[in-house]
Amino acid sequence: MTATQYVGKPVSRVDGRAKVTGAAKYAGEFNVPRLTYGVIVSSTVAKGRITRIDATAALALEGVIEVLTHENTPRLAWLDRSYQDQIAPNGSPFRPLHDDKVVYSGQPVALVVAENFELARYAASLVRVEYAPEPHQTNFDDAMAEAYEPPTGRAGYTPPPKPRGEADQAFADAKYQVSAQYATPTEHHNPMENYATTVAYGEEGKLTVYDKTQGAQNVQAYLASVFSMSSDDVRVISPFVGGGFGSGLRPVYNVFLAVLAARQLKRSVRVSLTRQQMFTFSHRSETRQEVRLGAARDGQLEAIIHEAFADTSTFEDFAEGIVNWSGLLHQCDNVRLEYRIAPMDVYTPADMRAPGATQGTFALECAVDELAHRLGMDPLEFRLKNYAERDQNLDKPFSSKELRECYRQGAERFGWSQRNLEPRSMRRGNRLIGWGMSTGAWEAMQDKAGAKATLHVDGRLIVGSATADIGTGTYTIMTQIAAETLGIPLERVEFQLGDSTLPFSPVEGGSWTAASVGTAVKEVCEALREKLFKLAGKIHDSPLGDATLEDVVFENGEVRLHRDSARGIALTEILRRSDMATLDEEVTAKPKMLEQSGYSRHSHQVTFVEVEVEEDIGMVRVTRVVDAVAGGRILNPKTARSQILGGVVWGISMALHEETLSDHAFGRFMNHNLAEYHIPVNKDIPEIDVIFVHEDDTIVNPLGAKGLGEIGLVGTAAAVANAVFHATGKRVRHLPVTLDKLL
């Protein structure tokens, strides 16, 4: 960066106005002409066969156009491969309306299409589906008997590292030991916007698909392959996404059904899921974990054993990194980590904000707290004593790691030194007060991504990449990077995303977007800068004379000499004098693998939490949080802070509220609505203090940004649980910490 006019500044969201005025259009809001409405009928059994579907009553209603079921849908692509998206796990992806087999409760079994929404919904209630049910398994404690090691090969999945040292021996020999079992429940992403697709049926059957997704190109490729369409005939557009958190990384069945219906009926169709149906695809895997830690009298960590079980579906092997973090977070020479998955009659789990890390770190960081307590040692002091200077999983140095500074600044802000070691030692009136803490890490990834940039002679710069903004601030930070690199005022820059026709971008997830797409935007603007400079040199009487690119600055829409700022030329003038209406450039930015591969690249977090517990009724309230984050360069402190706030709220939610409960008699989720699936409301959330610790990193990517989407969440649930222990002396190892578990 030549200057820091925009990058690093707390710029307000460039899409803010659209969002606060209601102008921002989400997938289910493109009201195209002659739209029809599809409503999905969901299976009421968890496993078995459909023996009969009677749609007579539905079809008898005037205005009902069609009822699609497995009996009347056309033959589509045959191979599993055709249904596998960018990040599909190994296995056979679920195919909606494919045959009479039911593989999970809530599975779509019919789509009713009508001229209006209410009619479609009513008609859907009239479709009679008969099943031959088969025994199902939705009880994870029983399913665990069938657990197996997940195959490797899923994009982004790293299996646990090989054991190091002699963990079992070291544990047996350790003077101080903790051996405990932890459990985390099934959770559902539940973004505020329900999944929806509006398919606009165009000339010659060309489809414009407005879809809620975290990857427009991922959906487009899926549709083209499943429906054997030429990729020119299907375009996916997703300008605004009402929350994703991982649920929209893979194509959701509504997009399949909407496209199926549009092609069948040659009409435009909208298919929206109900909130209940938001519980019928993708969830955070349920886990059971055992952690054994051993330490010497002085607090040195001598053994870590972490074994985790998580669920998957019967048709795909969902794999995520749950235990790996236990070999990374603290220095320890004897480590054994194991991870197995067990199939159940549910939909395949999906990545859900800080996937794997948050479940695994909950167990590890609670166990660390238990061990520190046993040692009579301050948990912060314990972590400092066992500070990992090197990534022992990879046996590589960190590209940067300012976790120590996070500990220091976070503790100071929180007032941690005032903490009394003893549980139940602090009170406010009739409430017990507890202070807890924990650590977390997340990988700083960069993936290949493309971007294009077009400078118009009127001074507007349009930059685009097929990524998404799911609330993360992508629109804003990309605009900042482009404005900065070309020295063009922010208001003149427009960033486009969420369109499959834009240059390649990976799905928006894993906290890799700022690094991946941001680097592409930076590089394309640098390339455009060079082009402009060359053009300027060709202009007759160029004010830049024989200057080189190093001699000039791009600022305020002009290119000027460093030494003599009076000599310069407006970028628009360069175009005008060169007789050009526009000037464009496109690049694909790739990570510098060789340079990066020598290092472990991670962001780090420490969370300090205060809770108040009403002793008589066990009610827990989080009253204060300090979250200190080392996340590389902060591109926009305003949107960055929001990312961390969101992560912390999710951590509080995981610790105290969220849990999807199954009725095993039916093999079905019971609390599938927002009244019974608890997430925090305004009253549950206190002031949250976010600290970004300065961290320079030239290895991770040219921007030095590490990504912030997950890191605020990773260790937060553990910090809350640890605070509850400190308040009450009760250790709750099965999330969420609800009042019944405290009484």
Binding site: M192, R624, D689
Partner: protein
């Protein structure tokens, strides 16, 4: 719209929406929310649950905040309705709550936002919000899955300050600026 003969026929109603009288024929089973979104293309009002559980569909009916998914359009014949599209001035100037939301980054994905903003305007009309705790309580019918609550609180406090109605400050509030960036 082809209504089936066995179903209730459309009724003609008039809603004054954002100051404009709109006459429309709707079947009785159409909610106010769907009338706005699907019939009038006023998609700023959001649907998060359709069951009165999330607040995304909050609009102002005769100045009072309600969940528009829980009322049928025909029940509101003759009512004055303000949606998110009607809050900014004719000249495009943002309503103070909208402006405060942008400034304080009181949203992320933006999907709960129109409901939050309408709810805040309704809450201010009610006049019960005196302390931070009151506000938190009175705003707890509007879920935000992105977790923007602390910034929503900042935006509300700023708006109240601008109106000369200072909420009593939080008992445990930390006297600390919003974010810290070590240089």
């Amino acid at each position: 719209m082809h209504a089936s003969s066995s179903l209730a026929p459309p009724e003609t109603i008039t809603l004054t929406i954002n100051g404009q009288a709109r006459q429309m024929a709707v079947q009785p089973w159409v909610t106010l929310l769907d009338a706005l979104r699907e019939h009038l293309d006023l998609t700023g009002t959001k649907k998060g649950c359709d069951h009165g559980q999330c607040g995304a569909c909050t609009v102002l009916v005769d100045g009072k905040r309600i969940n528009s998914c829980l009322t049928l359009a025909v029940m509101r014949d003759g009512a004055e309705i303000t949606t998110i599209e009607g809050l900014a001035g004719e000249d495009g100037a943002l309503h103070p709550v909208q402006a405060a939301f942008v400034e304080h980054d009181a949203f992320q994905c933006g999907y709960c936002t129109p409901g939050q903003i309408c709810s805040i305007v309704g809450m201010m009309n009610e006049g019960h919000a005196r302390t931070d705790e009151d506000i938190r309580e009175l705003m707890s019918g509007n879920l935000c899955r992105c977790g923007a609550y602390p910034n929503i609180m900042d935006a509300i406090r700023q708006t109240l300050r601008e109106r000369g109605e200072k909420p009593a400050s939080e008992k445990n509030a930390t006297p600390i600026p919003a974010y810290h960036l070590a240089e």
